[in-house]
Each structure stands twice: as C-alpha cells, then as structure tokens.
Homo-oligomer: 146 residues x 2
Amino acid sequence: MADTQMLPPEQQICFALYSASRSMTGRYRTLLAPLGITYPQYLAMLVLWETGSSTVSQLGDRLQLDSGTLSPLLKRLEALGLVTRGRSARDERVVEITLTPAGSDMRRYAPHIAEQICAATGLPMNELVELQSQIAALAQRVRELT
Amino acid sequence: MADTQMLPPEQQICFALYSASRSMTGRYRTLLAPLGITYPQYLAMLVLWETGSSTVSQLGDRLQLDSGTLSPLLKRLEALGLVTRGRSARDERVVEITLTPAGSDMRRYAPHIAEQICAATGLPMNELVELQSQIAALAQRVRELT
DNA sequence: TGAATTTAGGTTGCGCACAACTAAATCGTG
DNA sequence: CACGATTTAGTTGTGCGCAACCTAAATTCA
C-alpha cells in the first residue's frame, strides 16, 4: 500500500473525475447555450426523448438524482415550455413529466451536440467507449457501497 | 461516426464522469464528516498540506476553481479555524492562505481517507493509476479547447 | 510621471446536489 | 376494514461552480 498517503490532488482519481466532469460540463455549457438549457436539464431531456414521458422517480433512477434536485429543475423545463408536469390519475402521488412539441423538436440538435462532445475528447470512438465503460463500472461499484 | 446520435445518458462519457464524480464525492462526504469539511474544502487542504501556504490564485490554478468559488470556501475554512487569510505585504492585491496548527494537525487523517477511497474503487493500485492518468489527460484536452 | 492596462480578489445571482423534513396517497397486515 | 408503514414529490437550507461585474492595487509605457 505504498503511497496513497499524501498524493497531491492532481494524482488522485476523485480529483481527476471531478475536474474532468467540470471540463466536460463546460463544453456542454457552450453547446447548450443556444438551446437555453443546462447540462442536467439536457440529461433529463435525453431520458424524455427516449421515453416520451417519465415520472419524477423514474428520472431520478436514471440520472441518480433526488427530488430535491429534480423538482426545481423540471419546473424550469416546464417554464421553458419543453415539458408538462401533471399528477397521475392512477396514483395521485406520482407526477408525470411529458415532452411538449417544442421539447420533442429540440431532439434535432442532439446529434450535433454528441458529435462535438466526442470530438472534444480527442479520443477515437473505440477508446472512448472503453473509457466510458470503465468509469461507469467504477461509479456503480462506489455507489453500491450502500 | 456510427451512432453518437441518440445514446442514452448511461452510455455517454460525460454522464459517466458526472455520475462517478458524484459517487466518489459522496464517499468523501462520509469520510470527511468527522472532520467537518466538504470535499472541495479537503482539496484546498491537500494543496495547503503540501505548500504550507498559498495565494488564492495559486489554489485556483491547482484546483481549476475561480475566486467566486474559492473566496467563500476559504472564508469557511477560516471560520473553522483551519486557515488564516491575510493580504501580502509585498503586493496588497494578493491574499495569502496559511494553515493554522489545527489545519496542519488535520493532515493526520489524510492517509486513512486516501486508503478508504482507493478501497472503494474496487480496483488494484496499478489499474487505478492508469485510469486516473487517462481521465486527467482527457480533462486537460477538453480544458485546452479554450 | 501620469494615464491606460493588467492583475488579484471579492460580490451577486442562478442553478445544481444533497441532507433533512413535510404532506399526501397507497400498501400490507392483522 | 383499520391503521401503521412505505412510497412519491415537494420544500428548506447549505455549499459549491460559474458567469458577470466590481474595486483596488500594481504594472506598463507614452
């Protein structure tokens, strides 16, 4: 267990993740500015483009976010006219988030954004996929420590 | 450029980084709770344990954070009695952040924390180092796109 | 030397994250 | 069926991140 002792932040895995995540989010900030949404809002849109409609807790499961984050975020997407929020008839506890036509239309910009992001990494697609899966596996292992 | 088109968030590199970063920070939250500091505060302490004393902009360069984040963060560390803040005599624009004895003492807990974090990744040290350097390189490439 | 520029740090405002808490609806068991 | 436990969202409060803006001090250089 040689020298985990006092590594500088630059050589620690968590700082690499923290720093890389913020760098990538900054890239998204530029790309998403014309759409008027933030990166976490874009993540919610990605799920909705796939499902058409989701409950708050389904979005929370997909994005690993709780209602304290999602409730105000989804209200902002509603204020932008991209989604509607409404209580389920079957179960009044549940809030269904549904894309509006404007929200669906926005999907047209997604391919261009994804392409720009991949280019920004400077990695070929096969390496990108490999790195992605390693990081996702790491996240899951850490998350599952309760 | 096969299918960057509409991948779900779970298969995108940025979401992996974002999710992994939050998982790891959550782990640090548990480990740092006894010390009463947050992960970003811990990062500042790591730099100060190495240097003894730094200016705000030096900390900003190391951690890639601006004064809008660091100024209030450092005031909180000062309120906790871990650092002192004072204008440089040579250059009145510069604020020097210096460890207090209590701040230096806290260094004793660092090895245990680093060990717990490495264990939480579930990776052997050589793989951890390899992954860290790939992610750090990615972050730097993205950051350097201006 | 004195005006323009640069640099260092701080403030404000907004949007996450997350803990802790609340209210309402539903479920499960006796 | 009753009633306690669980589930679902929302609210509040704190601490980041970051853009935009501000002030003061130092530097440049005409």
